[in-house]
């Protein structure tokens, strides 16, 4: 018997689990795979919280002051991050444009570039999904008064990758910079750039940003600012964020069951009792007092769309489903994004038609909630963190 069973191992589920563990609860987190954090670059958007809070049914409207608490809670949980409530910072996209966000790994903070007139972009040899010329052109557009140049770095340790005709994934590069040899190579390359006359700031793709003290130490000894970059999925920084959160779960005595989806949950008189997971060979029944439903949206597959309808995959809960098609502007509003579960102030799933609470001891959190759009409102991290934290308080 668990105090709380968290279904879903993404940002919302992990934060819910960590908070509940801190409160002394016995927690098991069950997850189909390793969550969606590696699909994102590791920066967490909060968006215009005060405006969004005024929208009826928006998650920020019912999590209330939990949004601000979640912001500082996360900063205290993960010291690699920086941010100031109510202010925005900037990071570089994988293509070298600027993008605003609220919580970001210090390593990605692009603000030093605003003060630099001479920007050097390091080009680690063979780095996968990195396009130096495009990055250079975009940086030049973002900082028209400055001068941007590329600096190729040849890293001999990857000779066998080149021989195999392969580019080197960002995850492999990030791991390498943290090793002893990688550390030495990094120091040598960065010192070389710093020693050149036309260098005032270095943009360095593929650097680890979370939980790599070896790299932090090298960069602390450099007089120039070194700015990392977000990357395409699978993102090394997103993965590192995931790992730092799962380590925290384990360090607090929590357990993760990864690689199995929840098949169904047995419900008696509006209370969830047992989750049935499909272990190898047989079903395993997991009994808990309370449950968190944080299985994600369409990408995380908490929601599944078929030609006929949209389904919630664990409980089969009734959903708020706007007309799914309709957005004519590809990058504009797409109604499907607001599909999801409606909840009461305690995150308990409600019937969208009647408002009746359907499950007394289940708290929904994260992308599966209805009435918000992370792409348009830029609040994906904030909603997941604040609803996850609230769920962790309620468990």
């Amino acid at each position: 018997m668990w105090d709380g069973l968290v279904i879903g191992g993404g940002l919302a589920g992990l934060i819910a689990g960590i908070r509940a563990l801190e409160r002394g609860k016995k927690i098991l987190i069950v997850s189909e795979g390793v969550g969606s954090l590696a699909f994102a670059g590791g920066v967490l958007d909060f968006g215009r919280v005060r405006e969004l809070r005024r929208l009826e049914k928006h998650p920020y409207a019912y999590v209330g002051e939990m949004a601000e608490r979640a912001f500082s809670y996360f900063l205290q949980l993960n010291p690699a991050y920086t941010g100031t409530w109510g202010r925005r910072g900037s990071v570089l996209t994988p293509l070298g444009t600027l993008r605003e966000t609220e919580l970001l790994p210090r390593r990605l903070d692009a603000s030093p570039l605003f003060k630099a007139n001479k920007i050097v972009v390091a080009v680690p040899g063979g780095l996968k999904d990195f396009f130096p010329e495009i990055v250079k052109a975009n940086l030049q557009k973002e900082f028209p008064s400055g001068n941007v140049r590329l600096k190729k770095l040849s890293v001999e340790e990857f000779a066998d990758w080149r021989a195999a005709g392969k580019s080197i994934p960002g995850t492999v590069y990030a791991e390498f910079w943290g090793t002893e040899r990688g550390n030495t190579a990094l120091k040598r390359h960065i010192c070389e750039i710093a020693g050149e006359a036309d260098s005032e700031a270095i943009v360095f793709p593929g650097l680890p940003a979370i939980g790599c003290p070896e790299v932090d130490e090298v960069l602390a000894g450099i007089s120039l600012p070194v700015v990392g970059m977000t990357s395409f999925p699978p993102s090394a920084i997103g993965l590192a964020l995931y790992e730092s959160l799962t380590r925290r779960v384990k360090a607090l005595g929590g357990e993760l069951l990864i690689g199995v989806g929840v098949e169904r949950v047995e419900v008696e008189s509006a209370r969830a009792r047992r989750a049935i997971v499909r272990s190898k060979g047989k079903e395993t029944a997991l009994t808990a007092e309370t449950f968190v439903l944080a299985t994600g949206g369409f990408l995380g597959r908490g929601l599944v769309a078929t030609p006929d309808d949209v389904r919630e995959t664990v409980f089969g809960l009734p959903l708020h489903v706007p007309p799914l098609r309709g957005g004519k502007d590809f990058l504009g509003e797409q109604p499907y994004a607001r599909a999801g579960i409606e909840v009461d102030r305690h995150l308990r799933p409600c019937d969208p038609a009647t408002g009746e609470v359907l499950l007394e001891n289940v708290f929904a959190a994260g992308r599966i909630l209805a009435h918000w759009d992370p792409w348009l409102e830029h609040c994906g991290g904030g909603v997941s963190l604040s609803s996850g934290l609230l769920a962790g308080e309620l468990l």
Binding site: A163, K250, E255, E263, K280, T313
Partner: protein, 472 residues
């Protein structure tokens, strides 16, 4: 759930019809979506987590070898078969996949289709090596005839150099030492013999059965409505030939909980054969073992494993064999600690624990993670007063059964395990823990090789807490 549509056929007590050895089109025809090809969204998470792809540049990784190449294979285009042999079958890709794609299954099926033994190891000496390394059981039987002699011979540099030259078995690799053959302790009803059941018959002759728990037989409260408190123990080759003591500890712990432990003369589970491309023989072993299990399975008696790879084979591979017993094997197989946790949840686990004051580090074997049961040994050990256990969480050890014994893969296997070794060494040095525990015998051997730290099966901590003889 969405994944149900792909998983429906597999796993679970209702087995999917097995593929024919050699050629395998049956699976493809059964499913509209061949093994979840459409479910793969190409996110690359599997390759980012693959222990081999991270360390070894020429390996294309699970995404390319699995779902990507599968589309080509469906069109009759085969890739370089040598690549496939670098998959260690650790199943990390399947565990981390957010879309439930059976990636390792695809890779194994491809190996099977290519008649892989010949294709992967083009040189005949390597074919002989695959033949040898796949047969942990026969080697074990030979080795345990006179273990001291075998160990002495195997320890000499000359032998190892010859093995490397002649067979491509690395001279540095940590071949486990042979011990006295696993047998039940004095008072057991019968000696173990492995010869029984060779013909696939239902014979349970040569079955050993522990005596101590016999008094408790007939307790109707135990498992699955069976009429007695009996369990069958599947020791596996590592216990049988390299670590007899752990097998006896498992039995003592089960007996302490009032179970009579039955140990038929099982054969190797087949995992080493599969890993070395010997699919047909692996299936033969599965059939022989299932025949030995059948009478017990019919009576609802649980099968207990203490080796996580044997456990995974029994739960995942055996249900696919086309014999009646296969219908029950998945549902009735338990990892030792999975079983003990169920007892705990029912209030039937003896919890008369003595204090065990030892800080421990726990390494979760890949094939435990793949079972989808979490880490029950940590849960149980944390019930014991005094036990502090932290999870190392440093990935695969790199050995993967016989993978790390192969001359061309030995260095790679150490490189894969590097993060784990570093963590172990650092923790030991700083005094954060005094011993490493892990269920898998292969992981134990590799951790010792890579970090110098001794590691042992978690059952030893439990045995110590029960006052049944300690391990640390």
């Amino acid at each position: 759930m969405y994944t149900q549509t792909q998983w429906g056929e597999e796993g679970g007590p209702g087995p999917k019809p097995a593929a024919e050895p050699g050629g395998d089109d049956s699976h493809r025809q059964e499913c509209g979506d061949p093994a979840g090809l459409d479910a793969c969204v190409k996110c690359g998470i599997c390759t980012a987590h693959c222990p081999v792809a991270r360390a070894y540049a020429p390996f294309p990784g699970p995404k390319n070898l699995g779902p990507d190449a599968e589309r080509l294979r469906l069109e009759g285009v085969a890739l370089d078969p040598g690549c496939l042999a670098y998959c260690t079958n650790c199943k990390t890709c399947e565990v981390v996949c957010p879309s439930g794609v059976r990636i390792t299954d695809m890779i194994l099926r491809a190996r099977r289709q290519q008649g892989s033994a010949q294709a992967e190891s083009a040189k005949s000496r390597l074919r002989i090596r695959d033949h040898v390394l796949g047969r942990a059981e026969y080697l074990g039987r030979l080795g345990t005839v006179w273990p001291e002699f075998t160990n002495t011979v195997l320890a000499t540099k000359l032998t190892r150099r010859l093995l490397q030259k002649a067979l491509g078995i690395s001279a540095e690799a940590p071949l486990p030492k042979y011990k006295k053959r696993f047998r039940l302790e004095k008072g057991s009803a019968a000696e173990l013999t492995s010869e029984s059941g060779q013909n696939g018959g239902k014979s349970v002759e040569g079955t050993g059965s522990s005596s101590m728990g016999r008094g408790a037989a007939g307790d109707p409260s135990a498992g699955n409505g069976s009429a007695s408190k009996q369990v069958v123990y599947f020791p596996g080759c590592f216990v049988n030939y390299n670590d007899e003591a752990t097998g006896l500890a498992v039995i003592r712990v089960l007996e302490h909980n009032g179970f009579e432990v039955i140990v038929p003369g099982f054969h190797c589970c087949g995992v080493p054969l599969t890993a070395n491309g010997r699919f047909r023989e692996a299936e033969g072993n599965a059939r022989r073992n299932l025949a030995l299990m059948e009478p017990y399975l019919e009576r609802g008696i649980p099968i207990i494993t203490s080796c996580t790879s044997c456990g995974l084979a029994l739960k995942e591979d055996y249900p696919r064999i086309r014999v009646p017993a296969a219908k029950r094997i998945g549902a009735q197989t338990y990892d030792l600690f999975e079983f003990l946790w169920l007892l705990h949840e029912r209030g039937e686990l003896k919890e008369d624990f003595l204090e065990v004051r030892v800080p421990l580090a726990y390494h979760a074997p890949c094939h435990l993670k793949a079972q989808g049961i979490g880490t029950p040994s940590l849960r149980i050990l944390r019930l014991i007063p005094g036990v502090k256990a932290e999870e190392l969480d440093a990935g695969c050890c790199g050995l993967s059964g016989s993978f790390g014994f192969k001359a061309e893969k030995y260095e790679l296997s150490l490189q894969i395990g590097h993060a784990l070794f570093q963590r172990v060494r650092q923790g030991m040095r700083e005094g954060k823990f005094k011993a490493v525990i892990t269920e898998c015998g292969g992981c134990q051997v590799q951790i010792a090789q890579g970090s110098g730290a001794r590691s042992l099966h978690p059952v030893w901590i439990l045995a110590q807490a029960y006052g049944l003889g300690g391990g640390t």
